[in-house]
Every structure is written in structure tokens, then in C-alpha cells.
Assembly symmetry: C2
Homo-oligomer: 152 residues x 2
């Protein structure tokens, strides 16, 4: 197996969204892609916590590391005007309640940081305890800021 140790500096929303994406469509595709990857890696951790996937301490740590890097990506891609341009499930509350959206994103990042620490501990019980709050933060944010169906 090939390993790469990175001393990684991840900056949340390091550039204004307007500078990052030329078209709203690009921002929508970007944030949806980040969510897809986050879901895949969190799904593996949740699967181990729930016994659907055999627990493997190294794989858990690796998945948590990737998730920790991804968790900062989507939130720079909700700039003004990105409510249309491609099919999206965003609710207008992302912009009308920007403080609430920020709180949700902070909650998720904090929960993922704890999950990452738990996964790196190599302890399955710690992993189990840390998965729930991340799942709750996903669901809470989706309930508040994501529609059931795609619009546009």
C-alpha cells in the first residue's frame, strides 16, 4: 500500500465564491461533488460503527482523514446567485438565514474533528460514539437548508 503523509493546511472558504466559480452551475456542481465524497467516506465510517462493514482501524483513520479535508470544501460554494443554474436542492434559507447556516457548518466541522480523533484512536467504541453526532449534524443541516426535491 502506498501512503502519503501530508502536512496539510486546509483553509475554509479561502477565496470569495465569486472568484472561485465563473458560473453558478460550476459552484453547484462543485458543492454537490464535495457532498458526494463526504457521504462516501462518512458512510464507510458509519458502516463500521454500525457493524455493516468489518472494523479496520487503519481504514477508519484513513477515511476520517479524507473526510476531515473534505468537510471544509462545500461551504465556499454557496455564493449569492448560486440558487439556480443547475438542478439544486438548496433552500433560500441558506441566504436568508446565513447565520444559521454558518452555525450548522461549524457544528458539522466540529463533529467531524471529533470523529477524526476517535477514528485515529483505533478504538471502535470511540468511533461508535463519534459517528452519531456527525450523522445528526448532516441531518440537521439538510432538514433546515436542503429541499427534498431538486428544483430548476
Amino acid at each position: 500500500m502506498k501512503k502519503l503523509i501530508l502536512a496539510a493546511t486546509i483553509l475554509a472558504a479561502s477565496l470569495p465564491a465569486a472568484a472561485q466559480f465563473q458560473k453558478a452551475e460550476d459552484a453547484i456542481k462543485y458543492r454537490q461533488s464535495a457532498m458526494t465524497l463526504m457521504g462516501a467516506h462518512f458512510g464507510r465510517l458509519a458502516g463500521m460503527a454500525q457493524g455493516r462493514i468489518a472494523f479496520d482501524a487503519k481504514a477508519a483513520a484513513d477515511n476520517a482523514t479524507v473526510l476531515s479535508a473534505l468537510v471544509f470544501l462545500p461551504f465556499g460554494a454557496y455564493g449569492a446567485g448560486t440558487d439556480k443554474g443547475a438542478p439544486t436542492r438548496v433552500k433560500p434559507e441558506i441566504w436568508s438565514n446565513a447565520a444559521g447556516f454558518k452555525t450548522r457548518s461549524d457544528e458539522m466541522q466540529a463533529a467531524v474533528a471529533k470523529l477524526d480523533a476517535a477514528a485515529r484512536s483505533g478504538n471502535l467504541d470511540a468511533l461508535k460514539a463519534a459517528v452519531g453526532p456527525v450523522g445528526d449534524s448532516c441531518k440537521g443541516c439538510h432538514d433546515d437548508f436542503r429541499n427534498e426535491k431538486y428544483s430548476n
Copy 2:
């Protein structure tokens, strides 16, 4: 600005693809999402190198760091049987010429590692020199292993 320093261990293809994805569709969506994010972050670096985006040493370093984490993700998602299940542009050569595909992925990862070092040097000329080989590695792999049009 909010910064997070991560000591990140990224493992390429840490789990067999069969264990990672329950359905071929999931693998296809995952690898396409990873490519979308890689394209976005590389695009920002290329934009700075080409003068389309104002050079910002810190933003360059951040984008290169994210790209360095992403560059290992897609290649675990080309397991056998993932040539169909969702629209995809994969060529069958990914499987019939697996060694060639591995060479291309190694080339890209090496080129991205050099780009990351260049971006972190804060030197625009170094960035300019390192962007080209990454772009060449993208194109070379796409020429060999990606169709023009989606199939399925």
C-alpha cells in the same frame, strides 16, 4: 479567515473497490465527483499561472494542498464492473491496460506533488513551471482512458 492545520494521512486505494462501493453507480459518481473537485482546484492554480486569476501565494498553497489530498481519491473507484451503471466516459482500456492506467495515475500524482511544493514556495515562476506537467498528465490520461462522450 479560519484555518485548520491537519496532519493528514492520505492512503491511495486503501480498501478494495468492491468494499467501498455497493453499486457501480456509486463508484462512477464518486470518481466523477473527485475529478470535478480536482478540476476546480487545479483550474485556480492554472488560472494564476496563466495570469487569468491574480496570483495570491496563500490561495495557491491552499488550492495545491486540497488538490494533493484529492489526487488519490478517484483511482480506487475503477473496480471491475464499473464500466456501466451510470453515464460514464471510461474506455475499456482502463481494465485491458491496467498497467498503463496505473502509470498515468502515478505520473499525475508525481506532477501534483511537484505542483504542491511549487505552490508552497510562494514563487509564481515555480508555480508556472509546475502547472504545465499537471495539465499534460490530465490530458494524457484523458486521451488514453476517457471517451469524448458519455456512454450508457
